[in-house]
Structures are given as structure tokens and as C-alpha cells.
Symmetry: C2
Subunit: 407 residues, 2 copies
């Protein structure tokens, strides 16, 4: 066993306040590109761009941290090019904290039709789900898959994922894991989890071999991932695995159950057993109600494509409305001179009426995507500020009631 | 003959400097939403949005004035809704000077495949071009056409066009004209021009009837249009027509010839005969070389969709390169860490490499459109600043050589 890897002083995580009623906590997560307060939300810039929104607009919408996807970037434009262009921060013009994932989630889910739905278990139960067609082979060594772009055969091992993430140069990076489909049995889940743990050890070894530094020479911090499907004992075992290795942070990954309640349960299987002083990230979850549930379980950061993805379909997130959002394409907004949300201070709400946004959406104007995305991003950041404040003042219940109402 | 309509003090046009070698001049054009220096370029916000760019980004790219299209807005969302939302400025969040056209150009060209190409005479010569299929009938009263959106039968008269533009509430508005196809004969052109003159008189009468005020009660200023095809005597007659009516400004419209040289000739037929103290707008022309040619003829404002349209196809305008632009999709930019234009100070050039923009274009990321549009808009505004400065200092030749080089 090597000496413990010391992530400080470049990285640090300090817990500042705790909710007496739950595991909720506020903290400060320090990276070489700045310190963010937690709980916080990480916005997806999948292909080195948050779709339709500039970094300046992200900042104006009070964004603290974003992520990019290793899977997409290794295929296009390739990690080498990003490294030669000075790393992802410089390449995409974002100078704040950034995370990259390992590439695993997409390898094990893409090409399968409804990717996230499947992984998140929203399909009908009963049959074992077939592997996505772009995934060719999983061995102890790594995963062989086809490029979604040109069908080229590609291979990703734990070492390769670390190497790519080193070239991309994000602050927070993640070990490769096998992200099992929802409806695999306990035996497969257990064997897969054990392999993901071995992949975690190889990721850590490769990370140490590089001195924990990006291709640009800046320190990076590695997250381990908890797998174990919907099985309490496996989740506990996997949480303890990450706890007992010198990862900087903990990510809760894999299948998160067939419905919201099961997702909450899966998280609850993990959280009593994670390293209590490390930041915990919940992968791919971003509904407003889900955020409150996750925060109460002790989750520190979240990510999800949904705030920007739903914006592209005309949905605006609104505090305190049934279903958490409204569709601006709806004819009732045709002559509505009010902003999306009277209580919101974002650029879009300060400048434009629902009628204008409705018009842009109907006219298929690109600006609709930008303006609704800005609102949704601002709203998520506002939500997270409210959540942090509520934890500090012990008002989480009241704040949740203000944000989340029954349908 | 009614008393002359006095556009002052809300509107004014003051010529400030003249180029001794040509008709080029600088001026100050005052509107209720601000004063712009001329020569200047008017960016197209066709459907109440400059595609992919916010008003804040337009301002940051040093934009002074934009336009919107009556034809598109009368169909979607409808002038009534824009009026009820407080007018176009408020609706789309642009508080600077704005122009709307009459709707005629699109009625007489849309639905015909390559609209602008046809009108601008870039097709093969010889046969009379058929009318676009959405145009149903032209009579003395006005034009009957079908909505591009749902096929609904619509009618636009000179009075109706003024009424719509009053509801939209732009600062500068334009009389309805018949925009004849390029390859109609002299006889048709002469008869059409005469009708456009009668439409101009009706536009003026309707404008006066409304007191020259928008639905919001703000003063507006009306431009007359010079028609007459490629025929010198008709162009002169039409220029004299506009000169002898109390339009605030003069627009050069209609067919501008089969190639650049003929376009320059057509403009030269008009310019000696326009009212010398009024601003002159050249409709739909926006190449960098064309701007220099137009400015030398005495043109004060230009508009064209091309800076933002070519951006959507990956073309970046660059000072001093053959062809005036480069295509960032080209593989040679794959690892190019330089900005689009080293001499450009726009947000895009200050922040992003050609390699990043190339990646965004290849990855079909929306942000590519925004970032290249911002660069092209900034470049046109920079061009116009250079042109104005060159007129003041008598260096138009030198500035043209710096911007326009042979292929």
C-alpha cells in the first residue's frame, strides 16, 4: 500500500455547516481553478460547450462549475488536440472549476436508443437489457467499442481514461467503471462491481504514476465510483471500497433504480459508508425534487443534462410550479407579457417576455435555446444558493416547499 | 400638395465629412433610439432576432443599428401581438435604432427557391423569370400572397404595410414597392416603377394620416424606394420621384444587376439624382468590396443577411484575405491555436482558437453559430468604423487595399 496521496493544498474540501435533521451539509471545495460552495450543480458541456451558451453567459447566470465528457472528446476532437491547445479550460474559454467523467457511462449506454432512461432504469422490468450496439466487448483489461462518429474501433482501459483526462486537464477527474444496465442480476452486478473496484485501483495507480498532474502540469483530483446496482450490501461494499482508497472524492454511479424512490434508496445504501470528509457527487441526477432528496442524504454535487436539454425543447424551470417547469411553446404564452418567472433575476427574465420566447420557439429561432438555457442555468444556480442558505439556517423544509409543489 | 413633413427634431441627418475623390461622406443619423454615425451597416434580425446572438452580444460587438422584416413578423407572431407587447424594441430587447422593411421584397421573392440570388440577378439571363409560387396576384391595390407558414391567403397594400410598421414601431420604415425580378423587360419595369411611385404616394399619405407616429406614439421616419431595374433613365426618374416627395430617406431597391459591376452601375444611375441631404440606404448589399463601392457612390447605410448567414455555415469574415472570408470547417484549422483574425478585438477572437471553432462546427454545436456570428458582426462594424475614419482622413483607397485583396 503506497503512502496516502495528498491532494492539498491545490484541492481541499471543508465542511462548514450541517443540517441537524438530515445528512445535508454545506462545504467549500477548492480546486486550482477556484473554490466553489457546496451543495452545487455541475452543468454539462458535453463536447467542450454548454450547448448554445458562452462561458461569459454561464458566469452571468452565476455558474460555478461545469463538466465535459471524456467519451465525446476522445472521439472528437481527440484528447491530443485539446492538450496541444492548452487543455480544456483554455480550449473552451472556461476558467473555473471543471470535471471530466471517465467515458464509461457513454460507452456502456450510447448507441442504445434512450441512453439515460435505460441506465436510470426507467424501462419496463423483467428482461435482461441487451448491450448497446456500439459496445463490442468488455474484458478485465477494458472496453472495446465503436466510435459513434465513424464506426472506428476504439478501446478504453482505466489507464487510458486517466491518460485522456490528464490531457483534457479538468480539475476533478473520475475513475473508469463499468456502468451496468439496470436489469442485470445480482451475480452480474457483484462481478461487475468487483471489476470496477480493480479498475479503480488501476486508475489510482495510473493517477499516481503521473504525479496527479495534468498534461499542463496542474494538479488534478480523482474521484472513485460507487457501483453495486440496487443491492444494499453491494452498495455498502462499494462505498467502503472507495472510502478505503485515497480518492479525493466519491461519486455515486451506476443504476439508480427504476423510479425516484428507488434512486433515493440506492443513494441511502451508500451514504452511511462513504468517507465522511470527502465531497460526494451524484452522477446524472438533476431534477429539483431530486436535488433536495440528494442533499438530505449528504450529496455535495450533482450533474445532469436536463436543465439545458429541456431548454432546447422549450421547457423553462420555474420555482414552485407543479412539475418544476412550464413549456413556453404552449399557446397560453402567446400574448403573455410577463417574464418566465417574476421572482427570477436572470438576463432572460430581466429582458424578455414569455410572449417573445414563445415567438422565438415557434419561429425556430436559435436564440430561444440560448435564452431559455440561460434561465434554466440561472434557476439551478439560484436553487443551489437557496439550498446552501437553507442548510445554514435550518430551513431546508421550508425552502423545499417553496421550490417543489405537488402536481 | 401638403406642407412638407418635418421629421425633426426626433430625426435628423447631418453630413459631417466628404471624400474629395468620390461621393463618399460621413454623417450622423439621429433617431428616437439614438444617433448613429454613417456609413453604417444594419444587421438583419429577420424574425425579431439576429440569429443566435443576443442584443447584449450585438452591443458588445459594437452594433449600432438592426432591422427586422415586416413580411416575417406580420405572419409570425403578427403585428398586433408585437404592438401589444410594447413594440419591437421592447419585444426583442433592442433599445437602439431599428429599421423595418415594407414586406415587399419577401412577397415578391419568397417561395422561389434562391430568393436573394434571383432578385440580385445572379441567375442565367435570357428568359423571363416566373413569379414565385407564393405570390398570387399583384394589382394596383396591392399584392395577394400565401403565408409561407400555413398557406393562408394574405394581402398587403401600401397602407397596410405602413400600418404594420407603425405597430412594429421601428424608427426607420420603408414604403411598399414592387420588387421586380431581374429579367423583366423595360416596358414591365417602367410600368412597375410607376406603380411603385403611386404606392409611395399612398405610403406617404398613410404615414401622414398617422401623424408619423408608431402605435406607441414615438416618431417614425419614412424612406422612399428607387426602382427602375437596370435602365439608367428609369433609375433617374425614380430617384427624382423620391427626391420630390417628403421622404426622410432614400432606399435603392429592386434588381441591382447581373453581377457586381452592373450593381455598381445601377447605383451610379441613381445617386446623382437623389436628395443630397437625405440618408441613402442600399438594400440587401453587404460584401466588403461592395461596401467600399457603395460608399464611394454616396451610400450611407447597408444591410445584408450575409455576415450572419455565412457564419452559420462556418465562414468567418477576415480583413485582407482573398475572398473576404475563410471557412473554419476546413481541416487546416484543426490544430490552429490562433484566433480567427489576429487583428480583431471581438469576444470570439479574444477568447477562442480556430481549432476550437473548427471543433464546434464539426461537432455541430450551436455555440459555433453564436461565436462566428459575433466575429462577423464585429468585423462588419470594425469595417464601417475604418471606412468612416478613412473618409474623414482622405484614406479610403488605402483602407480599401487593407480590407480587400485580389483572389
Amino acid at each position: 500500500m503506497p503512502d496516502a496521496f495528498d491532494y492539498r493544498p491545490a484541492f481541499d474540501f471543508v465542511i462548514e455547516a450541517r443540517d441537524p435533521e438530515s445528512r445535508a451539509r454545506t462545504g467549500r471545495l477548492t480546486t486550482p481553478h477556484g473554490t466553489i460552495e457546496t451543495p452545487n450543480f455541475i452543468f454539462c458541456g458535453t463536447k467542450a460547450s454548454v450547448k448554445g451558451v458562452t462561458p461569459a453567459q454561464l458566469r452571468e447566470a452565476r455558474t460555478d462549475i461545469i463538466l465535459s465528457n471524456t467519451y465525446h472528446l476522445m472521439i472528437q476532437p481527440g484528447a491530443e488536440i485539446v492538450a496541444r491547445m492548452g487543455g480544456l479550460h483554455r480550449f473552451m474559454g472556461w476558467d473555473g472549476p471543471m470535471l471530466t467523467d471517465s467515458g464509461g457511462f457513454q460507452i456502456f449506454s450510447m448507441g442504445h436508443g434512450s441512453v439515460a432512461d435505460e441506465i436510470k432504469g426507467r424501462r419496463n422490468a423483467g428482461v435482461e437489457t441487451p448491450r448497446p450496439p456500439t459496445l463490442m466487448k468488455i474484458t478485465e483489461e477494458g472496453a472495446t467499442f465503436r466510435s459513434y462518429l465513424n464506426g472506428e474501433k476504439l478501446f478504453l482501459s482505466p489507464e487510458h481514461s486517466i491518460d485522456i483526462q490528464r490531457k483534457l486537464g479538468a480539475d476533478l477527474i473520475v475513475q473508469l467503471d463499468e456502468c451496468t444496465p439496470f436489469h442485470v442480476d445480482r451475480d452480474y452486478t457483484a462481478r461487475s462491481m468487483a471489476m470496477s473496484h480493480r479498475w479503480g485501483d488501476r486508475s489510482l495507480a495510473e493517477f499516481r504514476r503521473g504525479g496527479g498532474l495534468s498534461a499542463n502540469g496542474l494538479p488534478q483530483a480523482l474521484y472513485g465510483i460507487i457501483q453495486g446496482g440496487i443491492y444494499p450490501d453491494l452498495r455498502r461494499e462499494s462505498a467502503e471500497y472507495t472510502r478505503d482508497r485515497d480518492f479525493f472524492g466519491t461519486a455515486v454511479g451506476g443504476s439508480l433504480g427504476a423510479h425516484k424512490e428507488q434512486m433515493y434508496e440506492v443513494v441511502s445504501y451508500c451514504m452511511p459508508h462513504v468517507a465522511p470528509d470527502r465531497p460526494v457527487h451524484l452522477l446524472g441526477i438533476g431534477g429539483i425534487g431530486d436535488i433536495f432528496a440528494g442533499v438530505r442524504q449528504g450529496i455535495d454535487t450533482f450533474d445532469c443534462v436536463s436543465p439545458t436539454r429541456v431548454a432546447r425543447h422549450g421547457w423553462a424551470l420555474v420555482k414552485g410550479v407543479p412539475g418544476e417547469r412550464v413549456n413556453l411553446r404552449n399557446a397560453r404564452f402567446r400574448e403573455d407579457s410577463a417574464p418566465i418567472d417574476e421572482t427570477c433575476g436572470c438576463h432572460t427574465c430581466r429582458t424578455y417576455s414569455r410572449a417573445y420566447l414563445h415567438h422565438l420557439i415557434r419561429a425556430q429561432e436559435l436564440l430561444a435555446i440560448t435564452l431559455v438555457s440561460i434561465h434554466n442555468i440561472f434557476t439551478m444556480n439560484r436553487l443551489m444558493r437557496d439550498v446552501r442558505q437553507a442548510i445554514r439556517t435550518g430551513e431546508l423544509d421550508a425552502i423545499e416547499r417553496a421550490w417543489v409543489v405537488a402536481r
